[in-house]
């Protein structure tokens, strides 16, 4: 299990992500969205809105939220939860910023299926 502690995967360079924007990366057959907010915070979430699976990486980023392009659900980047009257949650990844790169720890289930 200690191995998983070192099991950070590099996704991209911080510079590749547009401010108040996002890029999408396919991480082992799963789409993940990497967001950069106006204050340069980096967040990584599954690229699927909890509502109808809309690609959050295509949304408009404002404050620490993203508005889904399909039906305007506003998802908090802090916790992946829908805000306001909407209910739902998108998986959020723990992020490690190192040497100007964005790293995440993939979910354990993904790792095991590869092992």
């Amino acid at each position: 299990m200690n191995r998983s502690e070192q099991f950070w995967v590099r996704l991209c360079s911080i510079d590749e992500i547009p401010k108040r924007g996002a890029i999408r990366v396919e991480l082992d057959q799963k789409q993940v969205a990497i967001f950069k907010t106006a204050d340069d915070s980096i967040y990584v979430l599954d690229d699927a809105c909890p509502h109808k699976g809309g690609p959050l990486s295509d949304g408009i980023v404002h404050d620490n939220c993203v508005t889904c392009p399909l039906h305007n659900w506003v998802i908090s980047l802090e916790d992946g939860c829908a805000t306001g009257a909407d209910k739902g949650r998108t998986t959020r990844y723990k992020v490690l910023l190192k040497n100007g790169d964005v790293h995440v720890k993939p979910q354990l289930t993904v790792w095991l299926s590869q092992a």
Binding site: F7, V9, R10, L11, C12, E16, I17, P18, K19, R20, G21, I23, R24, V25, E26, L27, D28, T37, A38, D39, K52, G53, G54, P55, D58, G59, I60, V61, H62, D63, C65, T67, P69, L70, N72, V74, G84, A85, D86, P106, V110, W111, Q114
Partner: protein, 816 residues
């Protein structure tokens, strides 16, 4: 863990089905449930038998609980297993197959059986009742060979059976004992309308007719009526009524009157035996319709889980399921001597309304031909509301209540709690009222909390009325609607201040106008971006991240995250080379759907985001540029073929359309703009429902504007008449610019025109040459920087490449 109690259910109709649904949801583990069903199948919706008979539905369509459902809920279902005996003292039941089972709680739901009048010949093959799927299948079998059918009984079931058989190709006669059809629900004039409607379908109705005998030796050949008339038939359906099935309960020693007697908790005279559905009699009433049975089901499920709940009887309402016949009835029609009637008839329109009142409250309703007010009347009936005050207009329906100028909230106040206010999000009145009562006192607060009026916005007025209804004078309708919750300023103020204070970036606007959020939201940022582009076309640097995805990647996002691509086809004209290029692209990129749009373009749907630049590259080689089908900007100019081909054409509408499109394309506008040019007043290009339309006439061109054919439908207004094409282009571009400078973001031309006033626009564009020229000049200047093909920029110059890259990380490599 204590042992499960044994719950045995006799019968598997809709009432016990619904009851078990409630029960298993409330407490899945308390009971071990066993069902004994005389029918050889799972539970289905008996109400839908008529559509099965008429062929509109199949058995599979009307199943409510399939085998899986029983298995998932741990319920044992014995099909084809009638129960013969209940031993209430020993708490056991015995099935026809000999199996005996003990129970802790027993539910009797044996339903009802159709009444078969013991006429001579009633046992002949070909004589059917209409009750369950077996009956329907038997009737369908008979109907296969066509021929004649006779339905005895002109009530609800009889008429539905007649309609179904008629639709199956049989020639049907209804024989009805009473003077008119559905005598329990309709009076004579209504029945007359119904009879006419049935006759129009080809169904023969004989009223005041008593069947004397059913003829035939080995199989039915017809019936003979009391008056001696002989009617030949290969099928006779008896639909004269139902009788609660109580034999089992009587044998078991339970108290039985017309039905099995139950108290408000659906308990019979025996402590551990319950009953529900059509077999019971509750407070002197036996029910044969589904709504009260469902209520009973809920009460019984609560009783079985030791919760307080009581059945208080029901108001019966009926709808006839005969296609093309709108009929609604509810409540009490017996009309005893202290009841009054209000009746309205319109025989030409086939409309009939009858309300039965007692002590100024509605106790019965019959609507024929127009049942749109049924929910309102039923609500008044259930609430026992005093209708004396609006008695004079009661019959005209809800829409006619209240004088113009009277309290505008009256209509919304009159709506039932369950009335749907916001159709987009499925929000009903009570949800909104509860949120207001819980402290949401502004439109935005209600929107945020309930989502009502947050999608298309057409119900905003209703939500505001609810606010003012609940809060009275405490609700201040906002004089100005703010752009979004980030600011109190409205669109007009923001536009004015951008110009007055010389604000040229989004950050500056937010700072100067004291935005409440650090970087706006998805609502205000696209609006500000547009206002700045429009105000400072040369100096403003487009804020790419403040655009909606469609305008960022110049394609339309679809529900699965793919995109659609619509190349520009000037004026809707194309060529073999263009079509061939599109076909090649479709093949090469395996594009799943190709569709012709309403704006005379070809739409390729299902393109992956990362393939967009390659698709554009290939289209670009054939000369295509972006069709801006995604833009808040100039979309399409639709044309007819005009005088080049059409024998009615007065001008070259196609060429004019293309010229307009080449002049206007690339411009950003507050909302999308669609044009059309028709070559004559026959208007084949449908120019009179467009944002801007041109109708060619012999003497020149009529310019129209402010039409709509979307959420709203509205014909255009006339802007004015011009004599030549140059003037068309001048006036249209001036109009575009005026709209661009004044419109609120997402406000279509017709809404802008309504706000500004048609005369103001006509005077600026048509009457004041200086003003017109100034607008046109500003438009031309703006177009100089606007007209570049975004597709070429992305496919050839690699603008915004990060949008279309597709980095892939394989975990195996990462760990290596």
């Amino acid at each position: 863990m204590s042992a499960q109690e044994q719950l045995v259910v006799i019968g598997n109709g809709m009432a016990p089905g619904r009851m078990l649904e409630h029960l298993t949801k409330q407490d899945k583990s308390r009971y071990k449930i066993t069902i004994y069903n005389a029918e050889p199948r799972v539970n289905y919706n008996r109400l839908m038998l008529s559509p099965v008979l008429s062929g509109d539905k199949t058995y599979a369509d009307i199943i409510t609980h399939d085998d899986d459902w029983y298995e998932q809920n741990g319920i044992t279902l014995h099909k084809n297993t009638p129960v013969n005996h209940i031993d209430s003292a020993g708490k056991t039941i015995t099935a026809a197959c000999g199996k005996t089972q003990s129970y802790d709680k027993l539910v009797i739901a044996t339903g009802s059986s159709p009444i078969m009048i013991p006429l001579p010949g009633h046992t002949l093959p070909g004589v059917k009742v209409y009750r369950d799927l077996d009956d329907v299948e038997a009737m369908l079998e008979c109907a296969k060979s066509g021929g004649k059918a006779i339905v005895i009984g002109g009530g609800l079931l009889g008429l539905e059976a007649a309609d179904g058989l008629q639709q199956q190709g049989m020639s049907v006669t209804v024989v009805h004992l009473a003077e008119h059809l559905m005598e329990k629900q309709l009076d004579k004039p209504a029945a007359f309308l119904l009879e006419k409607a049935m006759a129009a379908k080809g169904i023969k109705i004989l009223t005041s007719s008593n069947t004397k005998e059913i003829n035939g030796e080995n199989t039915v050949t017809g019936v003979t009526l009391e008056d001696g008339t002989h009617l030949p038939a290969e099928l006779v359906v008896m639909a004269v009524g139902i009788r609660p099935s109580t034999a089992l309960a009587t044998d078991a020693g339970l108290s039985v009157n017309r039905g099995i007697l139950v108290n408000d908790q659906m308990r019979t005279s025996e402590e551990s035996i319950y009953a529900l559905g059509e077999c019971v009699e509750h407070r002197d009433v036996c029910y044969g319709l589904v709504a009260p049975l469902y209520d009973m089901a809920k009460v019984l499920a609560s009783a079985l889980t030791d919760q307080d709940s009581a059945y208080n009887g029901a108001v019966l309402s009926t709808k006839l399921k005969v296609s093309g016949v709108d009929l609604f009835s509810a409540g009490d029609f017996t009309g005893d001597h202290d009841a009054e009637e209000l009746v309205m008839r319109d025989a030409t329109a086939g409309v009939y309304r009858r309300l039965i009142l007692r002590n100024n409250t509605i106790i019965g309703i019959v609507l024929y031909g127009d049942t749109s007010d049924s929910a309102w009347y039923l609500d008044l009936l259930k609430q026992q509301q005093d209708v004396n005050e609006f008695r004079a207009t009661l019959l005209f329906g809800q829409a006619y209540q209240g004088e113009p100028g009277a309290d505008p909230t009256a209509a919304v106040a009159a709506l039932a709690d369950s009335a749907e206010i916001c159709g987009c999000n499925g929000i009903c009145k009570s949800t909104i009222v509860e949120s207001i009562q819980a402290g949401q006192h502004t439109l935005d607060a209600v929107r945020a909390c309930t989502k009502a009026s947050s999608s298309c916005g057409t119900c905003t007025g209703l939500v505001e009325q609810l606010l003012s209804l609940e809060l009275g004078d405490n609700f201040k309708r906002q004089a100005v609607t703010p752009v979004c919750p980030c600011t109190d300023l409205g669109h007009a103020d923001v536009r004015r201040l951008i110009k007055a204070d010389n604000l040229i970036t989004i950050d500056e606007v937010m700072q100067a106008l004291e935005w409440r959020t650090s970087c706006g939201c998805a609502k205000c940022r696209p609006a500000l971006n547009y206002y700045l582009i429009c105000e400072w076309p040369i100096d403003y640097a487009d804020d790419y991240q403040s655009r909606f995805i469609n305008e960022r990647v110049h394609a339309n996002i679809q529900n699965d995250g793919t995109f659609s691509v619509v190349p520009r086809m000037w004026g809707g004209v194309t060529s073999a080379a263009e079509l061939r290029a599109i076909a090649d692209v479709v093949d090469k990129y395996d594009i799943p759907t190709v569709k012709v749009t309403g704006g005379q373009r070809i739409d390729m749907l299902g393109v992956k985001k990362d393939e967009l630049p390659a698709v554009w590259h290939d289209l670009g080689k054939a000369g295509f540029v972006s069709g801006h089908a995604y833009a808040k900007g100039l979309r399409t100019v639709k044309t007819c073929v005009g005088k080049q081909w059409c024998r009615f054409g007065t001008q070259d509408s196609t060429a004019l359309g293309i010229r307009l499109e080449k002049y206007l394309w690339g411009s950003w506008t507050p909302a999308k703009v669609k044009l059309a040019v028709s070559g004559c007043p026959r208007n084949c290009a449908e120019a009179t429902c467009k944002d801007i339309g041109v109708i060619c006439v012999d003497s020149g061109f009529e310019i129209h504007f402010a039409g709509a054919a979307g959420l709203d439908i509205k014909g255009t207004e006339v802007l004015g008449h011009v004599n030549n094409e140059d003037d068309v282009v001048l006036k249209v571009s001036a109009l575009m610019q005026m709209y661009r400078e004044q419109g609120f973001y997402l406000e279509r031309i017709y809404k802008w025109a309504r706000r500004i006033g048609l005369d103001e626009i006509r005077s600026q564009i048509m009457d004041n040459a200086d003003s017109c020229n100034t607008y046109a000049t500003r438009f031309t200047a703006s177009q100089k920087v606007a007209q570049h093909d975004p597709w070429a920029q992305r496919s050839e110059q690699k603008v915004h490449a990060h949008e279309f890259s597709k980095p892939t990380i394989k975990l195996v490599e990462a760990t290596a």
